[in-house]
């Protein structure tokens, strides 16, 4: 059997950082259940998300996208209206797709460790201005097995909490342990 790599194999860590990492992961694993077992077809979940300027910057930095259209926050000036072809700063096109994860994985239950996102078919219907609060609604529409692997499919809709305008729709698959 191949020996496991060290916790600091990919980035430098002191012994205390490595220990804290292992303790954190052990805590996650002890509460986890397979996603397949946690979802029934027809399950619908919905949460509201405020797309603050800081959240948008966090996302844009995480994918190293420095397009100025997404800047509703800048160092030194802090909150700014920003500029884009739609007036003020807007949200990156697939940002809300990422946060679907926080809805379809029921935040009130243990996280299903080890699941992997495998597919998405997304419709970007309207630009979302930075500062908007959106409602993300997910509905489990299918559970299927393919080549010995188990998948859960969700249909997603992202709307404006104030006027119900639809910004985004998506079909997405999660591979479950």
């Amino acid at each position: 059997m191949t020996p496991l790599p060290a916790t600091d194999a990919l980035k430098p860590m002191s012994p205390i950082q490595a220990r804290q990492t292992r303790e954190f992961i052990d805590g996650l694993a002890s509460e986890a259940r397979p996603y397949w077992d946690m979802v029934e077809i027809g399950d619908e979940l919905s949460r509201d998300l405020h797309l603050s300027a800081e959240l948008v910057i966090l996302y844009a930095d995480g994918v190293e996208d420095f397009n100025p259209w997404y800047e509703g926050w800048r160092m030194n000036s802090w909150h700014v209206e920003g500029q884009s072809p739609f007036g003020q700063a807007i949200v990156p096109p697939l940002l809300v797709s990422h946060f679907v994860l926080s809805v379809q994985f029921d935040a009130t239950r243990p996280f299903s460790i080890g699941s992997i996102h495998t597919f998405h078919d997304s419709e970007i219907l309207e630009p979302i201005l930075v500062g908007t609060t959106v409602r993300i609604t997910t509905r489990a529409v299918e559970k299927f097995e393919k080549r010995g692997r188990r998948y859960v499919r969700h249909a997603v809709e992202v709307t404006d909490v104030e006027d119900n305008r639809v910004y985004f729709r998506e079909t997405r698959d999660i591979l479950s342990l």
Binding site: L4, L10, D65, P68, P85, P93, I116, T118, S122, P127
Partner: protein, 148 residues
Amino acid sequence: MDGSGASLPQDIAITIDTPVGYRLQSLRKKAAIQLMGSRLWGRFNPNHWDPVYAAATGLKAPIQTGEMSSAYIAEMCVNHFGAAFFKGARVVCKYVASTYADEIISTHGLVREKTPKGAGFRFIVDVWAENEAGEKKTAGWVEVDVGV
């Protein structure tokens, strides 16, 4: 795009005159473990950021969350389509292979089809992300209205 405060590059904008077969300009990104382990992605799936957990589940290294390569592809598309990518666009991506920590990923796009629509066209562009060995990691297509 790269460089805070810069404008979108106008010289690569896709217009109604852009032909089928046009290649979008690639982006290159590194699957940096520090970014993969950001709290942005939740940190609740150690397969994305911990080499020990990843190895125990049979992976040769932590794997990037698929949303990262989709975001890279979207960035490439915004560079070319600009505002049009935010109204009535479609993005279909399948994560066909894992992107491992430290791999260098490049994005690609090739205009496959343009269908007349209104005063313009609906473009269909095959998109993919691959590593330096040319192994595809993410593959799909986007549809965008131009000049409609």
